[in-house]
């Protein structure tokens, strides 16, 4: 009889043992260390930290190892771990204006105070397979320069001085917490940004791309993209002042978007915003574009019916852990519901057949 999904504990245990063996791969090949993954698969580690919403490169590297390189599975491991952690409190908002930038570019100004820094980017590399890497050669050290003294102010601040770009009103309201409150609509912008920053990179990228192709086009310029480390500070009630508790690497993207203006309001540029853990610029730019598209109501634009404008659609589907779980659950047995459908279809067919016979 049909027993494929029955067989219980031993089957599960054996499957896990086989999985562990497959994860290790050929034992003749040296095993990857977590430190190697952390150091040499850094962008994968970053993605897992961003979508896992936990800044811990060692755990992310471990998760990647355990997940055999399946990044969504690794994100899942991190999320499941994260949810068990106690909360000590909230940090102060990080000051990205004080970021120690490894990379900082603007597509809107040729130069600006702080300068343009390309940093370690794939941009302008020719995508030719480098067979030298297969030979495991060491790379020569990159040329070094002294860091430039002085602040690196946000480029959109310059635009704002002239009133050319819409002002973001500062708020001291505590942002809602997606992981502690059920998602309800309408969501405010803080909640949307929270969902987007840990949303699936591919999904957010696809939505952002759709806006560029005309589904709620918002004509984005990368006003500024910066990647670097910022201090994380926390106010400790016993001390009465903020202390630095660590540092995180972030990618921040501010887009400058076109806005036609109206009879009452003079033409002004608008903004989209992306902020993601680690060096994750594809995600940060995508996030900024989708953020901008979702702001149509606030900015008095029309609902064009585009997917990227639809808050409920975007927020309900951007989480890859929810998506992959529900998608893959159809692997579970469904023979009870299927059986009921089977009987129904048989009965409907029998009735049609009986009807035909009667007619003949």
């Amino acid at each position: 009889m049909y027993v494929a999904v029955k067989g219980g504990e031993r089957a599960i245990e054996n499957a896990h043992a086989w999985l562990a063996e497959e994860r290790r791969g050929d034992p003749a090949v040296p095993e990857l260390s977590v430190a190697q993954i952390r150091a040499q698969m850094a962008l994968a580690v970053n993605r897992v930290m961003a979508e896992g919403s936990l800044y811990d490169p060692d755990l992310a590297a471990l998760a990647i190892k355990q997940a055999r390189g399946d990044l969504i599975e690794a994100v899942f491991l991190i999320r499941a771990y994260r949810t068990t952690l106690p909360r000590f409190g909230s940090s102060r908002p990080v000051e990205t204006a004080d970021m120690r930038c490894d990379r900082r570019i603007s597509a809107t100004f040729k130069d600006a105070p702080g300068g343009q820094v390309l940093g370690p980017t794939f941009d302008y590399t020719h995508r030719l397979l480098d067979f030298k890497l297969a030979a495991e050669g060491e790379v020569p050290p990159a040329p070094q320069a002294d860091t430039q003294p002085g602040a690196v102010p946000h480029i959109t601040d310059f635009l704002n001085r002239d009133g050319l770009i819409q002002t973001e009103e500062p708020s001291n309201a505590a942002p809602p917490d997606l992981t502690r409150q059920p998602l309800e609509f309408p969501a405010n912008r803080a909640l949307r940004l929270q969902a987007l920053t840990r949303g699936d990179e591919g999904f957010v990228l696809g939505l952002a791309y759709s806006t560029q192709r005309g589904y709620a086009r918002n004509h984005a310029f990368v006003g500024e993209l910066r990647i670097g480390r910022v201090a994380v500070e926390m106010e400790v009630p016993e001390l009465g002042f903020a202390i630095q508790i660590g540092e995180v690497e972030l990618t921040e993207c501010e887009t400058v978007n076109q806005f036609a203006g109206s009879k009452t309001e003079p033409a002004q540029f608008t903004r989209g915003y992306g902020l993601v853990f680690g060096q994750t610029e594809r995600k940060a730019i995508s996030m900024a574009l989708v953020d901008r598209a979702l702001r149509w109501r606030e900015l008095g634009e029309d609902d064009l019916g585009a997917p990227a404008q639809d808050e409920e659609f975007v927020l309900s589907h951007c989480d890859n852990i929810q998506a992959t779980g529900f998608l893959e659950h159809i692997k579970l047995p469904h023979y009870v519901d299927f059986q009921s459908e089977l009987e129904l279809v048989r009965r409907l067919r029998a009735e049609v057949a009986a009807g035909k016979e009667a007619a003949e």
Binding site: M1, Y2, V3, A4, V5, K6, G7, G8, E9, R10, A11, I12, N14, F76, R79, A80, R82, T83, T84, P86, T179, R180, Q181, P182, L183, E184, F185, P186, E312, S316, I321, Q322, T324, G325, F326, L327, E328, H329, L332, P333, H334, Y335, V336, D337, Q339, S340, E341, L342, E343, L344, R347, L348, E351
Partner: protein, 294 residues
């Protein structure tokens, strides 16, 4: 696994879930939003049910977990093991011995008692979802008791097929107020929704909990001239001979031969232990499919 709190979730989270459960029991059939946690098993694999069970379990409980009516399907095994490890509670396959039963897609054949809790795993809690995909809209429809769309859907079924073509997750009206999705149980099980037990429904991914308090009125939607009918395969169980239990159809050979067996494995075994026989009982090596199959 001693590093984790009893039944895995921390007490604050359990308290939050218990509050949602109490609210759900107070407003039968109403979907209460709750801050569902990420669990160490995937969304869609019973995280809602697991969280509700975790919030209800006490050390004295005796837990039964079924999937498709069976205690030995892989995901039921996995969830039962999870609670054995994290809560150390006793487990059982016997419906009548269990104090808490977590289920996916079935209600046990044996009537439940006032001392039992039945926890359902729910994939899509919203009965109106496939008529209206937006949560903002469906919540409005519930608050206005605007359920015309469901009846239109059922009517269209009749117009097209001559009968209501919904065979599982068949919508019900609870205490004359909320239309509720009973989770994807076959409609055969719908009459059992009126029960002496507390019934709790947990949807983890969709962050909703709803409930049926004991003896709550649950009516399957229908029309006067097309009354609701709890249907099942027109056979008796080939192992225990029961003509009243829900059956799984099993293909047994390459020629398309098939047999029918109770989907509720405990019910079937209990009957066989009591000496009931089915068509294939004496005819050879057919076992219950319990063991050593993989």
């Amino acid at each position: 696994m001693s590093d984790y709190n009893f039944a895995y979730l921390d007490e604050q989270t359990k308290r939050m879930i218990r509050r949602a459960i109490l609210k759900a029991l107070a407003v039968p059939g109403y979907q209460v939003p709750f801050a569902s946690r990420e669990m160490p098993m995937p969304y869609g694999w019973g995280t809602g049910g697991v969280q509700v069970s975790a919030a209800c379990l006490v050390p004295e409980d005796r837990l039964k977990v079924i999937d498709q009516g069976a205690d030995d399907t892989t995901n039921a095994v996995s969830i039962r093991r999870f609670f054995e490890r994290t809560a150390g509670v006793a487990t059982t396959g016997r419906t009548r011995d269990a104090t808490l039963i977590q289920t996916r897609h079935r209600i046990p054949e044996e009537p439940l008692t006032r001392d039992q809790i039945l926890v359902y795993q729910v994939p899509i809690p919203e009965p109106l979802r496939f008529l209206e995909p937006r949560e903002t809209e469906t919540r409005k429809m519930h608050s206005l008791e605007e359920y015309g769309l469901v009846h239109v859907k059922l009517y269209e079924d009749i117009a097209r097929h001559g009968q209501i073509a919904t065979s599982y997750a068949y919508p019900v009206k609870v205490e004359g107020r909320y239309v509720m999705d009973p989770s994807p149980i076959p409609k055969f099980d719908n009459p059992k929704l009126e029960s002496a037990a507390v019934q709790l429904f947990g949807a983890g991914r969709e962050q909703r909990i709803y409930a049926l308090p004991p003896h709550c009125k649950v009516v399957s939607l229908d029309f006067e001239d097309h009354p609701f009918e709890a249907s099942k395969a027109d056979h008796a169980c080939d192992l225990c001979g029961s003509a009243t239990s829900y059956l799984d159809e099993v293909i047994v050979d390459d020629a398309g031969g098939r047999m029918f067996v109770c989907s509720d494995t405990d019910y079937c075994e209990t009957r066989r232990d009591a000496g009931h026989l089915g068509r294939l009982s004496a005819s050879g090596p057919v076992t219950t499919g319990q063991e050593d199959a993989a």
